[in-house]
Symmetry: C2
Subunit: 119 residues, 2 copies
């Protein structure tokens, strides 16, 4: 059928075997929106400070159905390897950012995976 | 500094304003591993059946810290627009897959967002 034969996107991560970390944030109700914006902006700067962090993307929830469990922000981080994640975890810039954001989070999920086309 | 000036990856999604859906799955303990593998494989085939679904990637949890809240599988779907997500949601192939996977899930998070470089 037509759908099956059309070209689909292939990402750099897939080609290179990158590792992705996804963070889901739900901020506390008492954290002001402009403070949240500043925290996210500062977090984005980690891509300029941490060598092993190869890309940083963020998106606010735009879900139309309600399986988002109240999470409002998604941050996608891309690394070349799990060792790169370990280097990031121990980097002073990340540790400082972690300390600043953590008190404002009502809940968080962090999960690391290697995106592939199938199992 | 050196880190700040080196080129970073720029994805097709970013350039084209794609919308991403991330699904986090935790399967029930009683679902056999080979059944899980089959469900994931069958889910991957949606990229061949649903026109608005532009890419499909999956990864099993490889987290080294324990903020993954028990989720074991991440599926990343990419669409050109939120309308594309709506079309996917209503597509018979998706609806059938949903019915097959849902009974095996202990928990799930689904969140849609438009990946950007910052707020």
């Amino acid at each position: 059928m037509e759908e099956a034969s059309r070209p689909k996107e292939k990402t750099m991560e897939e080609a290179k075997g990158f590792v992705r970390r996804v963070l889901l944030f739900k901020f506390k109700a008492e954290t002001a929106p402009d403070h949240i914006e500043q925290l996210i902006k500062d977090h984005s700067n980690l891509v300029n400070l941490v060598e092993s962090l190869k890309s940083w993307h963020m998106g606010k929830d735009v879900s139309v159905k309600y399986s988002n469990e109240g999470f409002t922000h998604v941050i996608e981080l891309t690394f070349e390897s799990t060792e790169g994640i370990a280097a990031y975890m121990g980097h002073p810039a990340h540790l400082e950012m972690h300390e600043r954001i953590w008190p404002h989070l009502e809940k968080i999920v962090v999960i690391d995976y290697k995106p592939t086309l199938c199992n």
